[in-house]
């Protein structure tokens, strides 16, 4: 999957890919103060037997948890399941529904997206990507967007969560890269000097089919040097 990190102080964005095997669960957000956790499980392309090459991976399953309220939300391309203690509610992507729970608001836009608000100041959006019917190799998958993170504490971490705190970087020496449309540059970030590439990634919150190009500095090698530690540090044993 591709990650886009908004850096409002710089009016710019950073992006990177994390390449891991299907099945692996990555921690995206972990806030010990509010008890909010978001994990994403990867899926790959649907492969044929004789296809042994590298494949793209996507977020195939999302777990959104509020440990303090004993709430869990499981989102897959098929359904949305809310666990509230011992109670369980299941919604389908075909539903058009707004659920006003005391500590959570769910808004499903039929076959398109799901907005989850865990109280004021913590709002996420899950975008549903449906495969093209005649496309044999792709599976349905999900996108996850942080719309509002004010409620999350300064202790928040995770592959996305660590970037909810201000991050500073400097771009030096923009110069032509291997692709004439994508110049390279040197980025100074977290005391590391990285070679980065100007490119763009798709944001699907507005247009869930075609997406919108977001120009960003692409960090290579699974974001090594940008993220705290390495991406394997964010692998967790299960979705919940």
């Amino acid at each position: 999957p591709h990650f886009i990190i908004d850096v409002p102080q710089k009016e710019d964005a950073l992006c990177f890919n994390i390449n891991e095997d299907p099945g692996v669960v990555l921690n995206l957000i972990r806030d010990p103060t509010t008890g909010i956790i978001v994990n994403g499980q990867l899926i790959g392309d649907v492969t044929t037997d004789n296809d042994a090459g590298l494949h793209n991976t996507y977020i195939g399953r999302l777990g959104i948890i509020n440990t303090q309220l004993n709430l869990t939300l499981e989102v897959t391309p098929e359904k949305i399941v809310l666990h509230n203690g011992t109670k369980q509610k299941t919604f389908m992507w075909l539903d058009e529904v707004i659920l006003l729970h005391p500590s959570l608001t769910l808004k499903i836009i039929r076959k398109k997206s799901l907005e989850v608000s865990l109280g004021e100041g913590a709002t996420f959006e899950v975008v549903l990507h449906k495969k093209w019917k005649k496309h044999l190799s792709h599976a349905d998958f999900l996108g996850f967007y942080i719309m509002d993170s004010h409620r999350l504490s300064e202790n928040t971490h995770g592959l996305l969560g660590q970037f909810l705190h201000p991050i500073d970087f400097n771009i030096l020496e923009v110069h032509p890269g291997s692709d004439p449309e994508k110049p390279d540059a040197t980025m100074i970030v977290k005391n590391n000097q990285l070679t980065v590439t100007r490119g763009w990634q798709k944001d699907y919150t507005e247009d869930t089919k075609r997406g919108t190009n977001v120009p960003c500095w692409f960090i290579h090698n699974n974001a090594e040097g940008l993220i705290d530690g390495t991406y394997t540090d964010y692998v967790v044993p299960s979705l919940f």
Partner: protein, 624 residues
């Protein structure tokens, strides 16, 4: 001026907000301009509506006052120390309220905007005041008014009244949006000491076409003028403060020795390098035969065109043109190496006596990035440059674009009697470069010192200037401490092209005060405010280059004066309280700094990479 409007309203008087007047009233006395923008509106709807007051003012101006009057109740802005205002503001922010009111908006302007909810059938008046000292450039003073009401306004008026004790020699006004039909609407007149410009289009004259609901008033309204100069200088005294304007004419131009230090690192590749070459070629056309020049290029390494400065003979200029055309990109940014090579070249020329005895030496450096090769510590580079120049020649730093440490360039230039200028990435970048060169192309005097009777005056603004350029003006102001002083004598010493010069100027206190007694033109203690404005600007510039205790002292002094004279400077903020839903909300008007300017997404720039629009950008994970 962007007028009051209903947000998102594409047309006039939509949804009930009725703007019935907009007036820009400007009084200029002795180059000091005081502008008041007043706008009045009524909410004719049955429900409350949001009115937006959105104006642009020159970056060189200081806001002095803002008042919002809603249905007879006034809400004045209060100017406070920035830190104190920020604390108040933070409280407001923590309650989820409001944002800053002033933002950098263009090359020459910053934008002030405030919006407020107006109850049904209520009215609002916005009034913004700002002041600036007009700078003389290419022989003219220029007052810029940005006009953009976005809709038709029943009573729209720009009025500027100028009073110059020396007498006005020239006055013109132009607007980028003017049409043949509107030309007669612009009234310009001057006689003796007074000048006047009035622009008062009717509703129909404002229309972009007959019966159109849209306005054609959108663009720059510029007033240009100059004053008579029977003597090289002019001293004016009012209420214990004096100002001395010094701009001698008919002086033989000095030859100049100029070193261009040009960044050719890889980030300059493409259009930036092409524009730089175009500008240099044009500059070479204008360079005089008795001038000396050289080029130093720095990428990863430093290359000199010639080992020493050479005279601008036609043959040498032809060779220089060939050299400029062949400039290529060469790696990283060795800023320190480039600067020191250029400075050493001038030092060596001075030591060996190869340059004309009476000439002006200067350095123009152009860079678009931060140092990445050789010495990269900016403070060390600044120290190296200061130690190498030792005050001998001014250094002008041109910062190309935004991917650079402009504050350091400013500091470096300020320490070396020069200034920094940003070159905006745009289709006219080459013209901006040439324009800067033209400003310094004709030095008339060097080592200019303006002296006044020591025992009778105090709090003098800067009175030593490395160079005086044709078409500019030196301004010095101060306070008179001797109450019994009948006259001020100023002595100006300088090196000219042929001789050392001494200009003497005398002004009778009573006489000049009398000459300025034109009540209708004088807004308060304008010379005192002019002195305060100039002093604060210079303190802030000095502060940029200062360290430790000196910096703290300069900051304290500039802050004290900003508060005393009620100027919104980089050290103060204006707290604006506005009533919203029965609860007062606060917002801050801060002065944006050029050093903190960022690329404007609306600008038509072609950088080597694109900048994202600020909307629809979230931290996210997704796939394609």
């Amino acid at each position: 001026i962007k007028n009051i409007k209903k947000r998102d309203a594409a047309d006039v008087n939509v949804d009930g907000i009725d703007i019935h007047s907009m007036k820009i009233d400007c009084k200029i006395t002795s180059r000091f301009a005081h502008t008041i923008i007043t706008s009045q509106a009524v909410n004719r709807a049955n429900v409350s509506k949001e009115a937006l007051f959105d104006v642009e003012l020159p970056k060189t101006a200081f806001i002095t006052n803002f008042v919002m009057t809603i249905d007879g109740v006034s809400y004045p802005g209060i100017i406070k120390e920035k830190e104190a205002a920020q604390q108040q503001y933070q409280k407001a922010v923590s309650r989820g309220q409001t944002a800053g009111l002033v933002k950098a908006s263009g090359r020459k302007t910053e934008k002030f905007s405030v919006s407020v909810n107006i109850a049904a059938a209520k009215n609002v008046t916005f009034e913004l005041n700002y002041e600036e000292l007009l700078k003389r450039s290419f022989g003219k003073y220029e007052l810029l008014i940005k006009v953009n009401p976005k809709q038709l306004v029943k009573q729209f008026e720009i009025e500027a009244n100028i009073f110059e004790p020396q007498g006005i020699s020239y006055l013109d006004a132009e607007a980028s949006f003017i049409t043949n039909d509107l030309l007669p609407v612009m009234q310009k007149s001057f006689s003796g000491k007074k000048g006047r410009v009035v622009f008062k289009p009717t509703l129909d004259q404002q229309r972009s076409c007959a019966d159109c609901p849209t306005t054609l008033l959108n663009g720059d309204f510029v007033i240009k003028y100059d004053v008579n100069r029977e003597t090289p200088g002019n001293i004016q005294i009012v209420n214990g403060y004096f100002v001395h304007f010094f701009a001698p004419k008919n002086i033989t131009r000095l030859s100049k020795n100029i070193v261009f230090i040009i960044d050719v690192s890889i980030s300059m590749s493409g259009r930036k390098l092409e524009q730089t070459k175009q500008a240099l070629l044009k500059i070479l056309e204008d360079i005089k035969e008795d001038d000396y020049l050289n080029f130093v290029l720095f990428g990863s390494d430093v290359h000199k065109w010639k080992d020493t400065l050479i005279q601008a003979t036609p043959e040498n200029l032809e060779e220089a043109r060939r050299y400029v055309r062949d400039i290529n990109i060469a790696g990283w940014t060795n800023l320190n190496g480039g600067l020191l090579a250029g400075i050493e070249m001038l030092n060596e020329a001075q030591r060996s006596g190869t340059l004309p005895e009476r000439s002006a030496s200067l350095i123009i450096m152009l860079t678009d990035g931060r140092p990445t090769k050789g010495e990269t510590n900016t403070q060390t580079i600044i120290d190296n440059v200061r130690n190498a120049i030792q005050g001998k020649y001014p250094l002008y730093n041109l910062g190309f674009g935004y991917d650079l440490d402009y504050a350091s360039l400013e500091k470096m230039a300020a320490e070396n009697n020069g200034l920094a200028r940003r070159i905006y990435e745009d289709s006219d970048s080459d013209l901006q470069l040439q324009g800067f060169y033209d400003e310094v192309a004709n030095p008339l005097l060097t080592e200019v010192e303006l002296k006044y009777p020591e025992n009778a005056i105090s709090d003098l603004t800067q009175n030593n200037f490395k160079h005086y350029y044709d078409g500019s003006e030196i301004v010095v102001a101060g306070r008179i401490t001797d109450n019994d002083l009948n006259s001020i004598t100023a002595e100006v010493t300088a090196h000219g092209a042929e001789d050392d010069m001494i200009f003497a100027e005398q002004a009778d206190v009573e006489e000049t005060t009398k000459a300025l007694e034109e009540r209708e033109y004088i807004f308060g203690d304008f010379i005192r405010r002019l002195w305060a404005y100039l002093t604060i600007h210079q303190l802030l510039e000095k502060r940029n280059a200062a360290k430790g205790e000196e910096k703290a002292n300069l900051t304290a002094k500039a802050l004290e004066m900003s508060l005393q004279y009620k100027f919104v400077t980089p050290l103060t903020s204006m707290v604006v309280t506005k009533p919203e839903d029965n609860e007062d909300k606060t917002a801050l008007a801060d002065k944006p700094l050029e050093a903190e300017a960022t690329r404007q997404s609306s600008q038509s720039v072609v950088p080597s990479y694109s900048v994202p629009a600020t909307s629809h950008r979230y931290t996210s994970v997704d796939g394609d």
